[in-house]
Structures are given as C-alpha cells and as structure tokens.
Subunit: 353 residues, 2 copies
DNA sequence: TTGAAAGCGCTAACAT
DNA sequence: ATGTTAGCGCTTTCAA
C-alpha cells in the first residue's frame, strides 16, 4: 500500500538491510551511502512501519494510560504532561477513560496487553488487585498513579495524601478554627490518607474530631462530588456542635459544601471556613475563592513519564519505585480570616520523600 | 515471549490456521472444534498479537486524536466521549495534546502515519493545509474537529459557530442591551464564525457594532484567555460609547472580562452584561454565574466517533461529510437582567443541518 | 472441514 | 562496508 524499505532499496540499488541500518544509525555504514540513503528517504517521505518493527523487536514505542475520568482536570493534566514528555522520546500514548468502572479498566488492560504497550500507567478504579497480577504475569512494567493498593508492591507516583490532610488542617488551625470537620471521600487510598493527615494535624495540636464531624460523601466520589458535598455539609450544619471549618476531600465537594453553607445563611469564612483539594483552575473566580491543596498534577505526570521511559528502556523490573509528590496549599478567601489572598504556602511539615 | 497461536495449536493438536479462523469466527469450522478451541483459548488467556495482525491486514484498530489542549474541558470532553464510543467497537485511541503548536501537530501526524492509525481526528492548530494533503496522499481517512479550513474538502465535525454568535448576541438584545461589544478570538474559523453570527444578529435587529466595539484578544487565544480577556475588556471600558454588554469568544476570556468590569467598579449584569462560550463546568459557582453558549462537546465527540468508525470500516473515502452541531445557550446571572436563572434555551434561529 | 504454503515489512545474526 | 538468510505472529490463498 505505501512505500516500503524494499521500494527504497530497489530505487537505490541497495539491499533492504543497508537501508534499515541507516535508519537505525547502525555504525558499519559508510558516510557516503548513509548520506545518500538519508537524502532519498527524505525525498520519498518514507515512514517506517511500526507494526512490522514491533513484531520483531517486541517493542511498540507505545504506552498505555488509564484514568478514571479524562474530564477531571487532575487526570487531564497528568495525561497532558505525560504525553508531552514521552512524545519527545518518540513514544505514543494510548489513553482510556475508565469512567471509574472497574470492568472497563480490566477490559482495557487486556487490550493494552494485546497491543503490547511497553509500559502501562494506571490510575485505578479497581477494588482487587487481580488485573495487576495479570500484568505482572505478562512481565509488562506498570506504574500506579494517585491511588495505591495494600500488599501490591508496584511502582507508584502520587501525592502524599497524609501531607495533604495535614496541610489543610493545620492551615485551618492557624486561622483560629476550633471545630474542624472533614467531608471524607470513598474507601480508596487517597481519601484514607487525607483523613489520616487530618487526624494527625489535629492531634499535633491536642485536638480531635468532634463526634459526627467526619462525614462521608459516599461512593459517588469524584464523579458527583458537588451534590455529595452539599448533602454532607447540610448534615454537618445540623450537628450539635456546628463546625467552624470544613476540610473537603476535593474541590467539587468543597463547592457543594460552600453552596450548602451559603444557602443556610452563613458566611464563608467568617462562620465556616472551607478548604478543598485539587486546586481547580478558576478557583479565583468563584463566588468565594476557594482555598485548596494543590496536588501538583503536572509534576506527577512528568515524574510518571520519566519513570515510564526508564522502565521502557531497561525492560528490567528491579524493585519497585515509589515517588511521593509534596503538595502545597493555595490560600484564598474561603479560609482566610486574616484577609491573606492567594498566598501560596509550601509545605513545611512533610518529611523529605 | 508470550503465548502465541502456534503454542495453542500444538497444545490442541490442530493447525495454526484453524485456531486463527476460530478467533475470527470464520464460517467453515465445525461447532465442535470451535467450542473446544474457544474453551482452551480462554483457559490459557490467549491474547492475539495486534502488531502481527496489523502487519498483514493493514488495520491497527487504532485511531489517532490530536487536540490543541487536553486540559481544556472542551477538548477533554471530546476525547473522553470519542474514546468511550470507539472502545466499544474494540478500537484504541492514541491521543496527543499539541499545545497549539503547529510543528508538534505536524510531527505527530507523521507519527500517526507511521503507526498506521486507521483514522485520524484532528482539532488543528495548523495555519496551512500541507499536513492534511500528506494524510490524503497516504489515503488515511481523517476528520477535522472544531476548526475548519478554507478550500479543504475534508470531513468535519464541529459546532455551528455562526449560530453561536447569533445565540449569544440575540440573547443580549432580548435583555435590552443596546451597545453590545465583542471580544473576538484569533484568526481561525471558530472565531470568524462567531464574529459573523454576532454581526448577523445585530443586523437582524437593525443594529451594528459601534466603532471600537470589536476587539481581539490576540494570538494567545485559548491558552491565555483570561489575561487577554481582562485587557480587551479594559480597552472596551475606555471606549467613548461604553458597551452595556460583551459577548466573549470563550469562557476564560469572559472570566477575564468580568474581572476587569468588577475592578472598574461596575456591576454585572446591571452595567455590563457578559456572555461567554463553552459552558465550563462550575460556571454556576462563579462570583457572577456566567451565561454561556454550550458547544455540545460530548455530542461532538460522539458524532465524530461514529463518523470515524464508519470511515474505518468502509475504507472508501466517498465524498466528505460535514456535521454541524447546534449550540444552545445557558442563561445565568451574568446576562440576566430579568433575574432568570439557569434557564437553558435551545437554539431557535438555526436551520436544521 | 481442515491444513500447508506464502508472505505482510521489518530486524538480527551471520556471511561475504 | 554491504548483503544473505531466517523469522517475528499472524492472515490469506489454495489445496486436500
């Protein structure tokens, strides 16, 4: 159908092998022929057939990325920065948005195996670890993003969620808040970590969550955060000891919580301060600009890309690497009783990774 | 390295061909062997090698998508819905974010050709049409998204930008605005179409843009819309006839414009009404909830996916299909002088496509 | 209904 | 420094 090495070889009265060697910059080719071949290749606009190449080398120069929701800025940003990094090394990226559905994720993992991607990068919506075992069986290197799994010693890149919770909570404590509630996420590592951090920060100040001050948003999680946040905040506002601050699992949840607070006729941050997580774009333009913990999604993408490239080159899976990004908090009006605006405070409490 | 057809054949004392036929549901195989083979394939968890298959069939079951910015919700949503659609038919999707850089786009088009994607889908940042000619030479079907090119008779899916401009502008006219300004985008089809629609809607009411009431945001376009919008709006507010409404090329620009208006001590919408385009998530939670024209990104993705699947199957490029989505306007506080909230008005002026 | 032969476009090992 | 041979894992004839 298209121009092949054979065609070029005939055209130049050379053998296919010689051309192939030129293409791969093999040493034992004379400069003269090399130049001649390269020139002709460019003239004819030759494109190598990756499928043929992959068949023999076993490497596709392709990576597979699975995220729960490509529309979510956190994952979109990871996808964007990862793909930009690996593109520079000649790699392509197959991207799948699993819609948070474990079956879709499993199915696409199989697809990736069939397409023999060189590395898989997965922000998983899985509950079990079976799929990952399958990847391991096939000896394909993979990296987990954002969410971790107990008992699975895989490569991992994500934010340090304990520090996320610590940052948000100690900031609220510094603002003078006394009754800090938490709207927690579903039973995944991210939510668990943030909850832990929240507890730790309180404990460090000899405080503790009041009864009924930790409420879940339910399984809807990232998807339907706004509605879940609204409901959860309504619950909190009915508590006997009304909270004077709420640390929310993520920004959509925080938006919902803020709506509930305003609907109840309360002021933000005077009556109830709010901190979110994710640092969505346009947080500055909200009715009440939202203080939020930035998870450094671009950095996560970059680091994951570097790790993936290394894995693709080595083909050795010598021990698993774990890389925790340190989050930072961006203070805006929703929590700032001292009128501090848009001050970006780097994390100070976290241990170096 | 992994399980191949040959292994399975040996295991079952059958020939490779028979197994291959079973896999492709070829008719001339007895039910008995078919069952037997399928059972064993599942047992062994056999995965076909796509590279080998592609080498001989010439089809990779892979599509290539290029967007200017994967972080932009409009494109993220298109990517998400497209990939979901084609996934169901067993297709994978290579996604590239070109960062609005024509060179990156061109380079990745070459990559896609080398990887022999079955169809390319491109929301282009190109100025010329050379790259598209190259795709045509290789006889790879492709679809343009969002932005069109003069004199290029390619497949296209996008919103009807003239109607976008008309909807926004007539809405503002209906609200009683008399001096409606426009912050226009860069010299691409989307911006041009919206400008035309703006003019047409004014003309339909025997109005016309006042001098200096059409200002550009410059080439930064989608990227840096907020800053561009701020500047442009500042200009407008200095005009001799101050506008009482601004129709903005997109939502980020509108956010910037709103900031400029508020900074100038004016009220929205009482002094200046604002309409954006794109209908970003969380528009409801902004300082002033933003009226915006929805471009139906999910629908665009769905339709483009259907078109792509058709192209992938036919392999015939019989005439180009053009599909224009009809936009709708979502009215919020930024333009609603009659206090209408969140009313979604379907387009009434547009001809059926 | 099954299988043997040929080859997709390329690379890896081994001549020359 | 260049070419020959073989084969990656699969599908496509075509023969049995």
């Amino acid at each position: 159908m298209t121009l092949t090495l054979k065609d070029v070889a005939r055209d130049l009265s050379l053998s296919v092998v010689t051309i192939s060697k030129v293409l791969r910059d093999h040493p034992d080719i004379s400069d003269k022929t090399k130049k001649r071949v390269l020139a002709r290749l460019k003239e004819l606009n030759y494109q190598p057939n990756y499928a043929a190449r992959a068949l023999i080398t076993g490497r596709t120069l392709t990576m597979g990325l699975i995220v729960p929701d490509l529309l979510h800025p956190f994952f979109a940003n990871i996808a964007k920065s990862m793909s930009a990094e690996i593109r520079r090394q000649g790699y392509g990226m197959l991207i799948v948005s699993s819609d948070e559905e474990p079956e879709v994720e499993q199915h696409e993992i199989q697809q990736f195996l069939a397409r023999s991607v060189d590395v898989m990068i997965i922000a998983s919506s899985q509950i079990g670890t079976d799929s990952f075992r399958q990847i391991e069986e096939r000896k394909v290197p993979y990296i987990l993003l954002d969410r971790r799994f107990e008992g699975l010693s895989s490569n991992f890149v994500g934010v340090d969620d304990r520090v996320v919770g610590q940052l948000a909570t100690s900031h609220l404590i510094e603002q003078g808040c006394k009754r800090i509630a938490h709207i927690r996420g579903p039973e995944v590592s991210t939510a668990v970590g943030r909850l832990e951090g929240y507890r730790e920060a309180l404990a460090a100040h000899k405080m503790a969550p009041l009864p009924g001050h930790i409420v879940p948003i339910g399984a809807s999680g990232d998807h339907n955060g706004e509605a879940g946040g609204y409901e959860a905040a309504q619950h909190l506002l009915l508590a006997r000891k009304k909270p004077d601050a709420i640390f929310c699992f993520n920004d959509p949840v925080a938006l919902g919580a803020m709506r509930a607070i305003l609907d109840a006729g309360l002021r933000i941050p005077e009556d109830v301060a709010v901190v979110g997580c994710g640092n969505l774009a346009y947080s500055d333009f909200l009715r009440v600009p939202l203080t939020s913990v930035d998870q450094g999604s671009a950095q996560i993408g970059k680091i994951a890309a570097a790790m993936a490239l290394k894995l693709a080159q080595n083909r050795v899976q010598s021990g698993s690497k774990i890389k925790l990004i340190q989050p930072s908090i961006v203070v805006r009006a929703s929590s700032s009783r001292a009128q501090t605006k848009g001050r970006r405070v780097k994390n100070r409490t976290a241990p170096k990774p």
